[in-house]
Symmetry: C2
Subunit: 400 residues, 2 copies
């Protein structure tokens, strides 16, 4: 990704609404820089939009100030992550042309790493005491099992799930339908601040943008695509949480529902879901059993997620064979990992794309991030982690 | 079925415990009369039992007084129905050698007809208010839709389901684990009396027999086999209601569960079931949709079951072609029904086995029962029905 492409994508997050598949096709076919140039230059509309729509996009494009946005984001502790970059969660590509143009990310951990082992817990804003209880218990139980709890930062079920994860000292991600510098709802300003400090606050919209009804709805596809599965805790028939669940189903993710009284309108949507494809879950263990890899889930795996926990055994072995500070040849690393040189080289490129290793001439060495085992770890304000925070570009996202 | 076979089967209901597959095999291979003779005569045990067990059965057989039992049953308003007889519900044969030896039946309606359109509603004795509410609502809702509600007559969910059906003026069947003259639990004496008056009280055990833990468990297979599906309302992990549900599953019947709070131990068994094969249901409409024939379930079909409603269209047409009082030839009936004589004759024999028609020389006429459209209908004490009650043998169960 060139600096120009990055800048153009950052600009387009203010121009193109989330989930716009027509614009997604332009990006795929022409690249972001060319789409941005055409919008600025004017002339014949790109295919699939009316003249009026095209003029609307042009008016937005004329006001876009991506460098200012990137600076403002940085001041708010946020970075911009583009498709294909090392921190980009590859599973978002399952959205096809509805894939986000880019993501604004607040918080220290690697979104890509966290998303690998994440579950969405979503539900009604106006939930019952029971719904809030179940969301909190699932949030803490999943966090205790090493799962990252993803939700929408809203009142009700979302907030309870985030708080449950935070309370267990675990990992949580809020996906917002507005700028990540601009907590919504206002009543969750402190909660979202805590999530940004201990976890991640993520969104498709650039700094200062407000949520709209359609942005809420389209935000849900990101929650569904980012995670291995979606649990709906309480939802009336027309709840947005069901949008997330159905998106998860379409994307081939696990879809789960927490049962409630058949007499409760706030469980009716969940029950409808459970009568279709979704799996009934009563606690975090059942969620973890479903979304976890077979055999991976030791009972009561506790504590925050460490990057090495997320690697496949083969890759973890190669990573362990790298010296602490020096450079090593692929042949030496292969010997240390007990594998062939070919396999080791494949793993090393994989580890490089995840930000663990870097090439130095003919050899390989650990990145600074990989040398700190807590890099994507405990969200406590630990000074030992400041190296990572001070060098957010170590994952490769050079700012333009 | 000869009088001797009937009498032997009646005797064996006091000798053989419900669900005894060894004895079931003897009955299938030798016939009931021969099994009874061997038990009385003694000698080498029949295959599959120890000498001690054989002597135990012989001791019971020596005390059996089937004629007295049949008389006593008749005084209690009960009859004895054997496999293969017109009132025998053929779906019980799905139990194989665990099929009941015979059933003691209290109440006016035809068990066979009612079972054709029945659903079991079962659950915990010590249910919550929520469970009792759901059972009552399902009981009344199913009854209003023309379904017969089958349950075990117990406290809690069972009782609420029966009461719901009775309260809606509908049809309900209690399957007991003791003699049908001997209501259990005692606290349900009045309820079971009402069921016997307005519906049916059924059991495998002869007059005076007590329930035992294994009889409760084995009773559940009869509930499962008799009905098109089983709904579990509330059940802890080791509840007997789950035995019924699993039996229903094995028998290829529909298995359904009513969700409840994930925090409720009394819903934990239901949720475990819903995580396996069972379908989540929230109301009677969802149950009816599942167990009903496609297209059969018009919205809100109300009122009690009429026998004609239960017939296939072809059989119903042949039935409609019979004159009100006179005898008609198969050829005339075929013409009236718009079918071939061969088809009409097949249907007529089918209708005879169901008690609708009888042969008179070369012709066919309606039975007295079939002439009263309410014959298996409203369980209200309607004098118009007394003809049926006065002539319980019209279904062909001649008493020995």
């Amino acid at each position: 990704m060139t600096g120009e492409e990055r800048l153009a994508r950052a600009a387009l997050t203010r121009v193109v609404e989330p989930g716009d598949e027509t614009a997604g096709r332009w990006l795929r076919e022409l690249g972001a820089a060319e789409v941005a140039r055409r919008l600025v230059r004017g002339g014949k509309p790109l295919p699939g939009v009316t003249d009026a729509r095209w003029e609307g996009l042009r008016a937005r494009a004329a006001r876009a100030r991506p460098r200012q946005d990137l600076d403002e984001a940085e001041r708010a502790g946020a970075r911009f992550v583009c498709p294909g970059e090392p921190e980009w969660p590859a599973q978002l590509d399952d959205l096809g042309d509805a894939r986000p143009t880019g993501l604004w990310v607040r918080g220290r951990p690697s979104l890509r790493m966290w998303a690998l082992r994440s579950v969405a817990v979503v539900g009604a804003r106006a939930c019952t005491e029971y719904g809030a209880h179940m969301a909190a218990v699932l949030g803490s139980g999943l966090a205790e099992r090493g799962w990252v709890v993803v939700s929408g930062g809203a009142y009700g079920v979302d907030g309870a799930a985030h708080r449950g994860a935070l309370g267990a000292g675990g990992a949580t991600v809020a996906v917002l339908a507005c700028g990540v510098d601009r907590p919504y709802p206002r009543g969750h300003t402190r909660l979202i601040g805590r999530i940004a400090e201990q976890g991640l606050v993520v969104g498709e919209l650039p700094p200062g943008e407000h949520p709209t009804p359609s942005r809420f709805i389209l935000r849900n596809r990101v929650i569904a695509a980012l995670t291995r599965g979606t649990v709906v805790v309480e939802a009336a028939y027309r709840s947005g949480a069901l949008v997330t669940a159905r998106a998860a189903q379409r994307l081939g993710r696990f879809t789960m529902g927490v049962p409630g009284p058949a007499t409760s309108g706030l469980s009716a949507g969940v029950h409808a879901l459970l009568r279709q494809e979704a799996v009934l879950v009563s606690d975090a263990a059942e969620v973890a059993e479903l979304v976890g890899d077979i055999g991976e889930l030791a009972p009561d795996k506790r504590g925050p997620v460490l990057p090495r926990d997320l690697l496949e055994p083969g890759a973890a072995q190669v990573l362990a064979a790298l010296p602490a500070r020096d450079t090593a040849s692929a042949a030496d690393i292969a010997r240390g990992a007990g594998t062939t040189e070919d396999d080791a080289i494949g793993r090393l490129y994989e580890l490089r794309s995840l930000g663990f290793v870097e090439r130095h001439g003919d050899g390989w060495k650990l990145t600074r991030q990989a040398r700190s085992p807590a890099a994507v770890g405990p969200p406590v304000p630990d000074p030992a982690c400041s190296a990572v925070r001070a060098n957010p570009d170590s994952l490769g996202n050079s700012r333009s």
